[in-house]
């Protein structure tokens, strides 16, 4: 690449200054953005933000308690079912024992 052409490019792309007062405009923009950010975090929004946080926390705790209660109920139902099944099995076993012993008694009576 010829140095002349590259020099022409450098000349064509010579740096230029922004319009006067650029630094001041930047300062104003920074000040404006800083104000906006502060306003966003200011006390004006704090009560609403606090209320929203409390609401979220309460809803979270309520949901957690509901879930635990539901789990407790399910466990209780399972226990009742297990007791019922066990009772039925015991009842069957008891009847089996009774049936096994009844004919022998009848024979004894007939003799």
């Amino acid at each position: 690449m010829s140095p002349d052409f590259e020099n022409e490019l450098r000349e064509a792309l010579r740096a230029v200054d922004p319009e006067d007062g650029f630094a001041e405009r930047v300062r104003r923009r920074i000040a404006s953005e800083t104000r906006m950010r502060r306003r966003w975090l200011s006390a004006r929004w704090a009560p609403e933000a606090l209320a929203a946080s409390v609401l979220v926390a309460v809803l979270g705790v309520y949901g957690w308690e509901q879930r635990r209660e539901r789990q407790g109920l399910e466990a209780r139902q399972q226990l009742i079912e297990a007791l019922r099944v066990t009772g039925e099995k015991l009842d069957l076993a008891y009847r089996g024992v009774q049936d096994a012993s009844r004919p022998a008694s009848a024979d004894d009576a007939g003799a």
């Binding site: 690449m1 052409f5 590259e6 022409e8 490019l9 450098r10 000349e11 064509a12 792309l13 010579r14 740096a15 230029v16 200054d17 922004p18 319009e19 650029f22 630094a23 001041e24 405009r25 930047v26 300062r27 923009r29 920074i30 953005e33």
Partner: protein, 192 residues
């Protein structure tokens, strides 16, 4: 940059980091030419360039704590300016279609040479795809080496060299009425 000037920048940087608004303003004044020129040549519009340059300094203000030295500051400013400009060009391709010479405020014709040729060159650079344009600007406006450009643009060195080679070929060809930008950057579209 002389040692004295570099120290001045270091001093301004340290004071700006400490929260001194006048030191930050001094930093802006020291670098506004670089940032604004890059933005202007990338976007080819004075108002958009002013807005982008302001945004760059706004981001600098937010990220001052991360800037370690004056060298790092210059690197940071070039990187953020080119990235933001490329992002804007991608979002709004219409920027690319604005010829630089349509805006009387963006050319500097103070030096000797062929002003018509320089205008044509600026127009043609404005037609390059965004990434290629950034490479050319960093090379010939900022006088950066290809390796530095690769670091700033986070681009492989060979890609930088390829962009430079193709862009220069396009510029030369267009000046002599031979090549076209689209033919030299197939698949790049108007804005990459």
């Amino acid at each position: 940059m002389t040692d004295g000037a570099a120290c001045s920048v270091c001093d301004s940087l340290a004071r700006a980091r400490a929260g001194d608004p006048s030191a930050f303003a001094e930093l802006v004044r020291q670098h506004q030419r670089t940032v604004y020129s890059l933005a202007l040549r990338m976007l080819a519009d004075r108002h958009k360039a002013e807005d982008l340059a302001q945004e760059v300094f706004l981001r600098l203000h937010r990220n001052l704590a991360r800037v370690q030295s004056d060298v790092h500051l210059l690197f940071w400013l070039r990187q953020v300016t080119t990235r933001l400009a490329i992002d804007r060009l991608r979002r709004e391709p219409k920027y690319q279609l604005l010829p630089l010479r349509a805006d009387p405020g963006i050319a500097s014709e103070n030096s000797a040479g062929d002003p018509l040729l320089r205008r044509q060159l600026r127009d043609l650079i404005g037609q390059l795809p965004a990434a290629a344009r950034a490479v050319v600007l960093l090379r010939y406006q900022e006088d950066m080496e290809p390796l530095e450009i690769a670091t700033v643009l986070e681009m492989p060195l060979n890609t930088v060299k390829s962009h430079l080679k193709r862009s220069l070929a396009v510029l030369r060809g267009k000046l002599s009425g031979v090549a076209s930008v689209a033919a030299a950057f197939p698949g790049d579209g108007s804005v990459p």
